[in-house]
Point group: C2
Chain length 290, copies 2
């Protein structure tokens, strides 16, 4: 397959994954029980955006936001961006020092549930092209209630098993490696605590077999699409107390700290003229630092 | 005056300024009207802390936190820290490349008011010693309600006048220079908006006359001590609506973005083993990103 065909194939997949995730989230909104009777089932609002100054075509995307009842706030974004890396970034990106042009497409998801018993989550998969080409992404589970913030909790176990299945279908070494990478990456050093209960994270992934790498990235998306809505559905109708909510809001503060202090996607995006609304859509709808 | 005597003099002043500010804030808590009848007047809780591994003496301070009724959350912290800058920071600090030892003392204040009509504020003054010695600091007003977020609003005008008086008593060029520095420093580029309505900011300030520079730094502290409690007192009993509160919580989100993305004190402190609790005490008690 030519490079152009690969780009098109990956782009089509990311766009279809965005659609599938949106449909799955809206189905969860529909299925919510009596706890949510005073709120209507939420629907995503899709907002197309373009990048750049309006003269040069530098890509863009579709930001999809949900302010729902089960999902207090969720963003599922598709984007294709291209152009030239600034001097500042060329040395930091594989293959960009020789030629600053890049192309990137991907889908990113962040979900904050209303029910403190139901986990928040993050998922992102992307294809990047410079003079080299690679995939990156992963998914991680971020329960906000202390009772669920342990890798041995059944929800965390189920999430890890789903990510492991996606990995094992491609390479028996992936899961251990990418799980550790996730644990190291989603960590708050100043608090000496993890952001959530983990999952997988991979980047600059190029095995030499594009078809295999693309198939793996697809499977990560499919695995998340299957497991995360199921975990939310399992917890969404469980009643919660004011104390549960307070604990959730405080943990969300830690989540905001991570994203603003450490998350490379956030800081990179804000410094390279990304779409501020979609970059910062990861911030929790409400948080506390009492 | 010897360098040791200067350090002691500055340290004594910062400690006494912390006491004066705490007394002024507690007096405001006492003076609150019927809107706050269901809450007791708040009192600061002082927590001493020490820096380092417990073997080498690397200083410490007194963190003072108020969870009050007028002040939903306020921190007024005194610290004296000393030791050696890490390799990473030596090149960035005046006089530290020759000799990595440093000494710093100061007081820092952050206040988040409950009433959306009453402004939040920040103040910090400090003395730093490496092979050089200088002062830094300033004060800035951060109204969270859109109706007050304009430099021409009477509250902003009064705050700027107070800062100008403190500056003008020492040098007619200070106010213009330090006001502009404040506007440039407390700015969110990704939002293209200022953090608040400004004030003054100065750093690496060494006119060659230590006594004059110390007197100026004292006057900045005294000016803030006078004007800010007066502005809060003026607004605290003004009734507010749910919409006012919502606007305040959203603006507080922007405040958190600034502190975690750009504030040098925050990022520097977290990366150099500062006291996490006092560094992050600037984060708002409650914030929204709806």
């Amino acid at each position: 397959m030519s490079l152009d065909a690969r780009k098109q194939t990956a782009k089509d997949w990311f766009l279809s994954l965005q659609d599938k995730l949106i449909a799955a989230f809206e189905a969860v909104e529909d299925a919510a029980g009596p706890l949510y009777a005073d709120r209507p089932a939420g629907r995503f609002e899709r907002t197309p955006w373009t990048r750049g100054d309006g003269v040069a075509d530098e890509g863009g995307g579709v930001m999809a936001m949900l302010k729902g009842r089960v999902f207090e706030k969720a963003g599922i974004h598709f984007s294709t961006v291209y152009g030239e890396f600034s001097e500042e970034f060329r040395g930091q990106i594989p293959g960009a020092s020789e030629d600053p042009r890049f192309w990137a497409a991907g889908v990113s998801l962040i979900a904050h549930t209303r029910n403190p018993h139901a986990p928040a989550a993050h998922m992102n998969t992307r294809m990047i092209v410079t003079t080299k080409s690679w995939f990156g992404g992963g998914g991680d589970l971020n329960p906000m209630h202390p009772a669920y913030r342990d890798e041995s909790h059944e929800d965390a176990v189920a999430f890890h098993a789903a990510m492991k299945d996606a990995c094992d279908a491609h390479d028996p070494t992936y899961f251990t490696k990418f799980k550790q990478w996730c644990d190291e990456y989603f960590f708050l050093p100043h608090r000496n605590e993890p952001r959530g209960v983990g999952g997988i994270f991979y980047d600059r992934h190029d095995s030499g077999d594009w078809d295999a790498d693309f198939a793996f990235t697809q499977d990560v998306g499919r695995a998340f699409l299957d497991i995360y809505p199921r975990l939310v559905t399992k917890r969404m109708d469980q009643p919660w107390t004011d104390d549960d909510r307070e604990a959730q809001l405080i943990q969300r503060g830690r989540y905001a700290e991570y994203n603003l202090l450490y998350d490379r996607g956030t800081t990179f995006g804000l410094k390279t003229g990304g779409n501020v609304a979609s970059i910062l859509s990861s911030l929790p709808p409400e948080a506390k630092w009492p």
